[in-house]
């Protein structure tokens, strides 16, 4: 467009319009000038700048009333000129500045005091903006002299007024942006940076406006949300830019102590100037703190994310430039920042993290004691409120509260020790953690879930058993727990580990109420101390040495595995109750055995609630997790601690509570990983000497014998023959211990003896095993044709029990009718010896054979056992193998007791609610029902006995009974169907008969069964199910017997 390049040409073109405008101030003339301007190139216009501006400024200055539109047009025109030219003269700038400002003020000329129109305001603001950009730096700076303070103040107040009171969003925003330019903090890149002195000078000036600006801006920021986020964002930005420049630490530091004596001629102006001395900055900071508090409170929950983002910038800016002057406000600022870490908006979140990391990296906090104090105060306040907040908030609220807590800790970094060294702070914090981490211990299932199957299957359960999810009393969200974890780890990372471990161990010991939580915290502390899984903002200065870690870990482990904390009651099963009980009431079972019906009733249990047991289970699990964690912390160094740690873990791996044993197995895997063992087998094998030590020492204590034997059991299953020299003496110990305690330990030791034998056979019999296997398999077949498939080691199990039975018979003075067996068995023992044994027969047996012999000798004594469970177990095994001998005794002595107890208990279980499933009475009912069927079948019982059994079990087919009992009762009937299908059919049909049976011939009387045509009742479902099964069974097996009544 610009075609007139030379000043001469331009002058020629513009002159008429300028002259015209000077003469007649009309819209048309202004428009003409503007049109002319469009044709002039920038350099040319620069030359003519003042010439062109003159008519325009003249128009504004003419003291007669003017049309608003004219003014607007003139201002636009000025802006056009300024946009393409630069101002080089200070006077011109100041004059233009003041003239433009005048346009904004209520028209002074008119008496009506009408406010200018919105368009005009906008135009003037725009022109001012352009003006500030068109002046050179030194020219601009002339505006920022004490002498121009009134002028600046005028402009600032005008613009602030607009920003505050105008309704139009555009004006508000423009006014704020213009102000931003005015305080020399424009966003655009065109400006030259100010040097220190210049900044100092400007800061001095702006200090005078600070009260006005900050109050007004805070009102804008906290004003109606309807003003839109842009205005708020601009206001926030302006706020922090102004405050950040006036209160900048760097500037304040340079302010002289005393105000300079004003020179006489400047005194009026100087009075307006503020001296930013310490006194002033302190009082200003106080006032600003109030405003900041308001601003932060309001905008941190502002619905628009850009406002929150700007708040982050505010915090960052102020923290960076005013970390000393505004220290009093930092608690609010940091709180806002830390709280926004978990903002719902990703941008805010990431910016927030960035800022936090920046703060941490610059070590603002670490090097600033005052800031650290602020943070620790915040932390203290938060810790105090934490339990209440956790109680009252929802999970989202909890997450934000905890991220706040975490943020404080991360920001404090190594300075966190200031907090920890204060007793009250540490106390508050730890109490809060204790309360928040309280576990929910009401779940009955935890107590009830038992380990199924034998102890051996280590590998099998490894896959399934990873960390069990914990349930907390005060929250459900997983994120909350993760945050708590991080809190503890960050504490461990930065904190004084000795202090922390000492404190939390104190809590652990002090109260059972806090024990689980304290253990959880300790575990995480150690992980954090080693830097495992901890997310921090800055590295700590010194990381802990392995010896430090090991020291702490050893003291924690000592507490964990202390008898009082490791052997807790987790079940009310007879075997598990502390053996003290058994010891206290020796012979109890024998005495109650005399009274007829109570034999199967539970003996009075010590008062232990499910909650207590649940809590105990969790405590053990947490401690086990701790062991995992410590192993991970120490890596291969943990091998040294296996000396004391492996035995207790293995002990728990054999625990009957599912959760505990799975956790312990998980721990074993973790230990393997940490210490570099290929497998659990490998771990056990390599450390069997430590285990053996633990076993032999524990065997010496009555209360721990059961555990010790469990560990031995597990160990035997996972080792090979090389272990024998090590365990030899322990096996002897077991045997001698057994010798001393047949009364109460027999059942536990039975299992160990069994695994000893199994292990011996496995280790030493493989060469001659095949022959042996066949031999014994053949023996079995001939003895018991109905025996089903055997598991691989079945013959060994058989052999062991045979021996057992035999001994029992001998012990009772009853030589079995299968007398030949005795002779058969002993050779099988001697077979264990190598074939070429010493001809003299005097040489000592090989050690494994010696052990085997010793075990067998002990079996003799195992028979007079007082424990009901053992007896039941034994009974089934006996029945399986020597039915004839037992039948009579069983039907005479045992059966009546079993059936009568079943009958007497049935009404109770039918009435009972779901809790009944966890009573001992239920378990006994279940055990009896589950065992009775096979017992009857094995013993080949007579008809009358079978009737008794069927009668007793029938009532358990009722739908009112617990489901498990129903199923068990069904199983009894399945067995009965095998033994005597016909009578079973009849019995069932008596209860309920689904079919009508038409007699094949009219002369025969119709079949009348009492179950026919009955209403559907509690038994119907189960009976129909059984009948169906019976039908299937009968149709698949060819029958030889006669069956008049059965339908076909």
């Amino acid at each position: 467009m610009a075609v007139l390049d030379t000043p001469q040409e331009a002058f020629a073109a513009l002159r008429p319009a300028c002259v015209q405008l000077t003469k007649m101030q009309t819209l048309e003339n202004v428009a003409q000038l503007r049109a002319g301007l469009a044709l002039v190139s920038a350099p040319a216009l620069q030359e003519l700048q003042e010439y062109v501006l003159f008519p325009l400024r003249f128009t504004l200055k003419v003291p007669k009333p003017k049309q608003e539109r004219l003014v607007q047009s003139v201002v636009q025109c000025i802006a056009t000129v300024l946009a393409t030219t630069r101002i080089k003269k200070q006077e011109l700038l100041q004059e233009l500045f003041s003239e433009l400002c005048t346009c904004l003020s209520p028209l002074s000329g008119s008496s009506k005091k009408a406010s200018p129109s919105e368009e005009l305001k906008l135009t003037v603001i725009h022109a001012l903006h352009t003006l500030m950009h068109s002046a050179y730096k030194d020219v601009i700076l002339s505006l920022y002299q004490p002498s121009t303070l009134p002028l600046l103040g005028f402009a600032v107040s005008l613009l602030l007024g607009l920003a505050e009171r105008e309704k139009a969003k555009q004006i508000k925003i423009s006014a704020l942006q213009c102000l931003q330019v005015l305080v020399l903090q424009c966003d655009c890149q065109e400006h030259w940076p100010l040097n220190e002195d210049e900044m100092q000078q400007c800061g001095d000036l702006f200090a005078s406006f600070l009260p006005g600006i900050s109050i007004t801006l805070s009102q804008i920021i906290t004003g109606d949300i309807k003003q839109g986020h842009k205005a708020t964002v601009s206001a926030i930005r302006l706020f922090y830019l102004v405050v950040g420049s006036v209160m900048a630490d760097a500037q304040l530091a340079r302010v002289p102590k005393n105000k300079e004596k004003p020179q006489a001629e400047q005194s009026r102006i100087q009075e307006l100037m503020v001296h930013r001395g310490p006194e002033w900055s302190r009082s200003t900071a106080e006032k600003l703190s109030l405003l900041l508090h308001k601003v932060v409170e309001f905008s941190s929950v502002h619905p628009h994310w850009k406002v929150r983002l700007e708040l982050v910038e505010l915090v960052q800016h102020l923290l960076r430039s005013c970390s000393q002057s505004l220290v009093g406000s930092f608690s609010h600022l940091l709180k806002a920042l830390v709280g926004l870490v978990s903002d719902e908006n990703g941008d805010v979140q990431s910016r927030c993290n960035e800022v936090l990391r920046g703060i941490a990296e610059q070590r603002i906090v670490v090097q600033n004691r005052a800031l650290a104090d602020v943070l620790s105060e915040n932390l203290h306040a938060l810790a105090t409120a934490l339990p209440r907040l956790m109680n009252s908030q929802d999970d989202a609220g909890r997450v934000s509260t905890l991220s706040l807590l975490l943020g404080y800790l991360k920001l404090l970094g190594p300075k966190v020790n200031i907090v920890l060294n204060s007793v009250s702070h540490l106390h508050r914090l730890s109490k809060a953690l204790m309360q928040v981490l309280e576990l929910d211990v009401t779940d009955v299932k935890i107590v009830e879930d038992r380990r199924c199957g034998p102890a051996g299957s280590l590998q099998h359960s490894l896959l399934s058993g990873r960390r069990q999810k914990k349930y907390f009393r005060f929250f459900t969200e997983e994120k909350v727990f993760q945050l708590l974890q991080q809190v503890c780890r960050v504490l461990g990372y930065y904190g004084n580990l000795y202090l922390l471990v000492d404190h939390f161990l104190g809590l652990y010991v002090e109260s059972g109420l806090y024990r689980k939580q304290a253990a959880m915290v300790l575990n995480e502390l150690m992980a954090g101390a080693a830097g495992l899984g901890v997310d921090v903002l800055h590295e700590r200065e010194v990381s802990l040495s392995v010896d430090d870690l090991k020291g702490s870990i050893m003291s924690i482990l000592d507490e964990y595995t202390d008898q009082a904390n490791w052997y807790l009651i987790t079940s009310i099963d007879a075997e598990e109750i502390g053996h003290e009980h058994t010891v206290q009431r020796p012979g109890l079972a024998a005495r109650t055995g005399g009274t007829h019906s109570s034999i199967l009733l539970p003996s009075p249990e010590p008062c232990i609630t499910t909650r207590t047991m649940n809590s105990n289970i969790w405590q053990i699990c947490i401690q086990l997790e701790g062991v995992s964690c410590f192993a991970a912390v120490l890596g291969k160094e943990f091998r040294l601690l296996l000396l004391s740690a492996l035995y207790p873990v293995l002990e728990k791996a054999g625990d009957d509570t599912l959760l505990i044993s799975e956790t312990a197995l998980g721990t074993l895997v973790d230990i393997c990983e940490a210490c570099g063992y290929d497998s659990v087998q490998h771990l056990i094998n390599e450390n069997s000497d430590y285990l053996v030590n633990g076993i032999s020492l524990n065997l010496r204590q009555l209360a721990h014998q059961a555990h010790a034997s469990q560990v031995l059991d597990t160990m035997l299953r996972h080792s090979d023959a090389s272990l024998l020299p090590l365990v030899e003496d322990v096996i002897q110990d077991v045997l001698s211990t057994l010798d001393q305690s047949y009364n109460n330990q027999a059942s536990t030791f039975l299992r160990v003896l069994h695994s000893v034998m199994t292990a011996l056979v496995q280790w030493f019999c493989s060469p001659c095993g095949e022959e042996h296997q066949e031999n014994s398999a053949a023996k079995q077949r001939s003895r018991d044709s109905s025996q089903g498939q055997q598991v691989v080691t079945g013959h060994e199990v058989e052999r062991f029990f045979f021996d057992y039975i035999q001994q029992k018979q001998i012990a009772e003075g009853d030589l079995p009718d299968t007398g030949g067996e005795e002779a058969d068995e002993d050779p099988s023992l001697t077979k264990l010896e190598p074939n070429g044994s010493d001809p003299e027969g005097e040489a000592p047996l090989p050690s494994h054979a010696q052990v085997a012999k010793d075990v067998m000798e002990r079996c003799i004594h195992l028979l007079s056992d007082g424990n009901l469970r053992v007896r039941l177990k034994v009974l089934c095994t006996l029945a399986k193998n020597c039915g004839d001998f037992l039948r009579q005794r069983f039907s005479k002595d045992v059966l009546p007791k079993l059936t009568s107890s079943l009958l007497s208990q049935a009404p109770a279980s039918a009435r009972a609610g779901p809790v009944y499933n966890h009573t001992l009475a239920f378990k006994l009912q279940l055990a009896v029902l589950q065992g009775l069927g096979s017992l009857c079948e094995k013993l080949d019982m007579g008809e009358s006995d079978l009737d008794k059994v069927a009668d007793a079990c029938l009532i358990y087919l009722s739908a009112k009974q617990p489901l498990k009992l129903q199923e068990a009762a069904q199983s009894v009937f399945f067995h009965l169907m095998h033994v005597d299908p016909d009578s079973t059919w009849l019995l069932l049909n008596e209860v309920c008969c689904p079919h009508q049976y038409e007699p094949p011939h009219a002369s025969l009387r119709p079949v009348k069964l009492s179950g026919m045509g009955r209403q559907r009742n509690e038994f119907t479902d189960n009976v129909l199910f059984l009948l169906e099964r019976l039908q299937q069974q009968e149709s698949t097996t060819p029958q030889t017997g006669t069956r008049e009544a059965s339908p076909s």
Binding site: R639, L640, L643, D689, Y690, V692, N693, S696, L697, R700, Q701, P725, L726, D729, Q732, D733, S736
Partner: protein
């Protein structure tokens, strides 16, 4: 009521033979790992690491014949061992070596443990039962030069020496030797004169073990009887019976006074370790763990008294480690 006796702190297994002798070496630098040497019936010397409680090395130098004495000479890198192969071996174990540097052929068929006494830097005296049945020979180590041979007077009928204890009063006085003999007497020998200074019949059975406290000039001996005999040495260097202590079960295979002279331990044929106060022979504890004769007891030489341990080796192949009365 007194506290029940403690359990062993740890039990070392894996010698796979009866343990006949034990010797601690724990007094070295702090970085050094405490070590226990054990000699067993199958001729092996096991070097136990007391941190891991595992065997670091097994030394085989006595032709699979029983090792019944192990001592260190100065540091734990120099070891002396005596075995039923009638040899005394001097080992160099520095930097992981396991070699026999030197050996002495004793030609003695008994099982009398030799006794070692450091008399100067790098100079030891060693007393051992000699080839002739009743004689004791004293050598200087490492030079192996014979210092003297101690022969009982003709017709003394002491029988074989059973146990030896070389000692000297602090201040570098003349080294003296206490020897227990088969006939139950204890004889004090002057080495330079090669002459018996005093003889005391303490037991009617062979003296199995003795230990002597040179500060209190008091010693104790045990035999296969049910009696512990405590005797003292007066200024005229005469041995006198001080008192005797009755035991429940007969047979003491080893007696050791703890280096601080406060307590002593005995290894009993009744499988038990007994702890007594040394001053008044007050019975303090009966440690019951082993399932066969206890052959030897030894106290550790830890610098920190709290860490000090007692070890006992038994015929049941086990070595039990105890931490007892460490606070007193």
């Amino acid at each position: 009521m007194a506290l029940p006796p403690p359990d062993p702190q740890f039990v070392l297994r894996g010698t796979s033979a009866a343990v006949h002798t034990l010797h601690f070496s724990c007094g070295g630098q702090e970085t050094d790992v405490a070590t226990l040497f054990s000699g067993s019936e199958n001729g092996f010397i096991h070097v136990w690491n007391l941190k891991t409680h595992r065997v670091d090395t097994a030394l085989d130098g006595h032709g699979r014949r029983s090792v019944y004495c192990v001592e260190t000479m100065g540091s734990k890198d120099r070891l002396l061992s005596q075995g039923r192969d009638q040899r005394i071996c001097l080992w160099n174990l520095a930097e992981g070596r396991t070699s026999v540097m030197d050996s002495i052929f004793t030609e003695n068929v008994g099982f009398c443990r030799c006794s070692l006494l450091k008399v100067a830097q790098e100079r030891w005296l060693m007393a051992m039962a000699a080839k002739a049945l009743e004689e004791v020979q004293v050598l200087e180590l490492p030079s192996k030069t014979s210092v003297c041979t101690l022969k009982p007077e003709v017709g003394a009928k002491l029988g074989m020496p059973m146990c030896l204890k070389l000692w000297q009063l602090s201040g570098g006085a003349q080294p003296l030797l206490l020897a227990g003999y088969e006939d139950g007497s204890v004889v004090l020998w002057n080495l330079s004169m090669g002459k018996a200074l005093s003889q005391l019949v303490c037991h009617s059975e062979p003296v199995m073990s003795l230990d002597f406290d040179s500060e209190k000039a008091k010693g104790i001996s045990g035999s296969s009887e049910k009696v512990l005999s405590i005797w003292s040495l007066n200024e005229q260097q005469n041995l006198q019976v001080y008192k005797t202590h009755k035991l429940v079960n007969a047979g003491i295979s080893d007696i050791t006074i703890r280096p601080d002279k406060k307590i002593l331990a005995t290894a009993g044929w009744d499988h038990r370790i007994r702890i007594f106060g040394w001053k008044k022979m007050k019975p303090l504890a009966v440690l019951d763990f082993h399932t066969a004769t206890v052959h030897c007891v030894s106290f550790s030489d830890h610098r920190n008294p709290r860490e000090r341990l007692l070890a006992a080796g038994s015929k049941d192949h086990r070595i039990s480690i105890w931490s007892i009365y460490t606070q007193t």
